[in-house]
């Protein structure tokens, strides 16, 4: 892990989503655009708190907002989340490749077991 120092240079989006409530907001927005009231209800927090978290997410571009009459609608901005997605993906790929090899080992073990059975 030569990258211990990298944490300090991670983009703002990383820090913004480090907060569990903000991740909850992102989860809630994953299904599509939602008005603030919806989000307040879903998180069970007071509106000012929700608004505060949404503001942080907006500042780093992870969430976008538009006015629809009297409602403010929030949505995810997938592009801003991409660095985080990529970051996790590379570690996920290590395990995917490991497990692909494990598939081959298991195939071998299964064939051997079947072979043993037919010998009996």
């Amino acid at each position: 892990m030569p990258a211990m120092a990298r944490a300090a240079t991670t983009t703002d989006a990383f820090n913004a989503i480090a907060e569990p409530r903000r991740r909850q907001l992102l989860d809630a927005l994953a299904g599509g655009e939602r008005p603030v009231n919806d989000l307040v209800r879903e998180l069970g927090l007071a509106q000012p708190q929700v608004s505060k978290h949404l503001r942080v997410l907006r500042e780093v571009g992870v969430v976008a907002v538009r006015d629809d009459g009297r409602r403010r609608l929030y949505r995810l901005n997938g592009k801003a989340l991409k660095p985080i997605h990529d970051w996790v993906k590379s570690y996920e790929r290590l395990w995917s490749e490991r497990f692909d090899q494990l598939d081959a080992v298991l195939d071998d073990l299964k064939q051997k077991e079947e072979g043993d059975d037919s010998d009996e």
Partner: protein
Amino acid sequence: MTVTSSETATLTLPTDEQILITREFDASKDLVFRAWTTPELVKRWWHAKRGTVTVVEIDLRVGGKWRYVMVADDGFEVGFHGEYREIVPNERIVSTEVFEGLPEGVTEEQGGTVNTATFTEVDGRTTVTLLVQANSKEARDAIIDSGMEAGLQDALDLLEQTARSLR
């Protein structure tokens, strides 16, 4: 060797200190457990096609030690070791894990993790979940960063292959 169509491992971050990896296998949990805990078999899959696993020591009992070493294709050697804390055959293994190249100033307590592997079989297929519990968000993130290094290595390997094919 049979080429099995690959299922992807899914990775989530349940809390700031955790990594959860899940994957389903087309085999009974007995077989998956055997492949997970038998040194000769671990050598065949743990390399993730990034090098050669040179050491696999497994003393599968509570308090027993384990150690894996891989030499990556570029010659870089990485080692991991730890201790078994809980073993339920074919069901669950809890073990500690320490990366042998922790940055200076990072203690094993700070950089080490507690890993819980569970094996659940349904209709002859086994789901493996691997929960990695770090001691801090920084330590957790550093582990994920290590995948970035490997990812970069993948990219360089591909680039080299491509360059060779152009010769």
